[in-house]
Symmetry: C2
Subunit: 416 residues, 2 copies
């Protein structure tokens, strides 16, 4: 049935509106025509779409890169659709050795629950978690027996699996692919079958896995889900994809001042992409900012301030956003000492070399980094630049150590 043909003028307008919002910033919709049909069906039947996102419970650290997907979920939510969050606890409990030299340690039930909770807390900063359907896939996957596994597997060719980029590369490089790894897309697809998902979201690196759901649903005679692939954004360095392991991320859980400061440090080329994908500004607002930047009506630095404000607003509130902006100008622009900063209780020697002190406080990763920083004038004691790496610090109560633009530590003597 062609639902598009069923809609009246008003409904068609609604369809166009939803399609515009939901397809905005998306890297690929597979297949595009079916997506329109899904929305049309939802409008015609007055039924929300079931929009699935699978989560790996082994890595619960959420960063601004994830807000690309979260913002898309939020749009679906605001248009009345249902979000299905799947915690892949079955997978997590087994341990996925993908790309690892040794198999990853399987998670316990408690670890999975804890990690899931961490996800939900962080997700709650962007989407309405009360309106979300939560699922743990061990609930159904643990009940699948060998015969059913073989039935699922009989629908998949080895060649098809080896088409997947990472498998293909590993196979050609004679790196082992373990047979159970082939089941990760199969399990993910089985989730879509059980939940009868209409839509599945995923990063572009998830294309193979999320597309697989279509195949499994078809095997069970269901209507196939439509896949929305979302771009991965580069991290603060502007080169690598944002990730915890690359240390180029803005964590959703970070303090407002850090979020603001980190956002101010992104390369200018990323400003528009971050606005489009990671911020929660409306399409119209982003379009305007883009236009003003292009016409030099907006300075990149001011655009970044707007972006940084929007991130803190999204993750905290507008008052906090204004405060972190003020903090940023105090510290980075005027090079003042911030009003509050971390304090460290000092119970070591009174006299310590500057290099040892900075290294001891773990403000820089190595002593050679400390020496380089001193050479660049990046280390201050009570606002005075330290010029000599051999300088000996006489520690006094309330001494303020500054490393680079943003790191401040106040030493408190243990005895005082």
């Amino acid at each position: 049935m062609n639902y598009l043909e069923q809609l009246n003028e008003l409904q068609l307008k609604e369809l166009e509106k939803q399609y515009k919002i939901l397809s905005y910033g998306v890297d690929a919709i597979i297949p595009e025509e079916e997506f329109k049909q899904k929305i049309a069906k939802s409008i015609w039947q007055d039924q929300p779409l079931k929009v699935k996102l699978g989560l790996d419970p082994t890595a619960p650290d959420v960063h601004i890169g994830h807000t690309v997907v979260l913002n898309k979920l939020k749009q679906f939510q605001e248009l009345g659709h249902t979000i299905q969050l799947i915690i892949g606890d079955f997978t997590g409990k087994i341990g996925d050795p993908t790309g690892k030299a040794t198999a990853r340690k399987a998670l316990t039930d408690d670890e999975v629950r804890y990690n899931a909770k961490t996800y939900f807390e962080q997700f709650g900063k962007v989407i309405d978690m009360d309106a979300v359907e939560l699922h743990y896939n061990a609930q159904w996957l643990s009940k699948v027996d060998f015969a059913e596994v073989l039935q699922l597997a009989s629908n998949v060719t080895v060649a098809r699996m080896l088409e997947r980029n990472d498998f293909h590369n590993r196979y050609n490089a004679n790196k082992p692919i373990y047979l159970h790894e082939f089941f990760y897309p199969v399990m993910q697809g089985y989730d879509s079958h059980i939940l009868e998902s209409d839509i599945e979201l995923g990063g572009t690196d998830q294309e193979f896995n999320v597309l697989f759901g279509r195949q499994v649903q078809e095997q069970f005679g269901q209507e196939k889900q439509v896949v929305l692939l979302l771009p991965l954004i580069e991290g603060l360095d502007g080169v690598e994809k944002m990730s915890k392991s690359k240390n180029n991320y803005i964590g959703i859980d970070e303090r407002p001042n850090d979020i603001f400061g980190k956002t101010m440090s992104i390369p200018d080329e990323l400003i528009v992409k971050y606005f489009e994908l990671a911020s929660n500004l409306s399409i119209d607002e982003v379009t305007l900012i883009k236009e003003h930047l292009q016409k030099d009506m907006l300075h990149p630095r001011d655009a970044k301030i707007r972006l940084a404000l929007s991130f803190v607003e999204m993750l905290y509130d507008s008052k906090t956003a204004e405060q972190s902006k003020k903090h940023f100008f105090n510290v980075f622009q005027k090079n003042q000492i911030p009003s509050d900063m971390p304090e460290v209780i000092w119970d070591k020697e009174d006299q310590i070399g500057i290099v040892d002190l900075v290294k001891y406080l773990e403000l820089l990763p190595s002593k050679s980094e400390v020496r380089r920083m001193i050479k660049n004038g990046g280390i201050r004691i009570n606002q005075e630049k330290v010029m000599d790496p051999a300088f000996t610090v006489s520690v006094s109560d309330g001494l303020v150590l500054q490393v680079g633009k943003r790191k401040f530590i106040k030493l408190k003597l243990a005895s005082s």
Copy 2:
């Protein structure tokens, strides 16, 4: 523990005796040293070895080619070891599409039981079925859950699977390999784990599958089975492996006269191989026959008579063997009409062309085959050669039609 070092002189003699018998005619023992240890352990602990053979319940037709394995099982049995026959009903019920254009239809429970019974009846002609352990692998495989499947699979690399000849060839020829096919060796290996098999027998074409049991047993921390690979023998044509589909086989269920006659038709080059692998003659007897043939002290025809007698003796008894020998000489050597032959009730026309008659009775596959046979003087009516393909037969009660050397039919008139 090195069991070889534990044995006394008498036990070492027993070891040597068993090793000589059990390794005789075997294509490969993997690994050979472990096989000696297995026998030594069995002698030292006075415990029988568990000797496994897996059976595919989809193809229960047993032929002389299978006696290669059956005779080996018999030798194990006679030395006091335990035979474990596994009916792969779990596999059979799922349907294995290996090498098929479309997936094979899954068998029902009844079909599996019926096929298993057929196996057992035929096997009973060679081995003592009362002393055999019978197992149906659905008993344990149907209880394996997804998590355990993944654990099993995590021990297998895709590259390892693609090393298997048929997979390798299909992959390179872009022919689909379905993912569940990779589980056939895994399941077979799991059987070895459950049954704690010491030895597994298989044809050389089964090398990959039977070796796999070692890997699964190791995964479960068990002692690994030793694999005995048995040669596949060529069929009556002396070229292709004996198989039902090639119609070059001697069926274990065939009538004594047919077994004798077919054995007499094998090419001389196969005589020794058949003696060694398919007959149940002792090593000493076969060695003698081999020697006599080499020294021209034994005519190949007489060796074949000895072989044919041994087959009928093995599958029936010595009296029947002598009768089938007599029958053979009556029919083929002196070209006499056998004393008993199949009768067909004739209720068709009195006059029929010889080509139509032979084709109608399905004695030859095509009319052109009939014409060729007439040209070669291979068709007789009441012992008279038919020379003309256009010859019209006047059917009378008791008319004897002979096609080739061995096919006789007597026509009985329906009216008489």
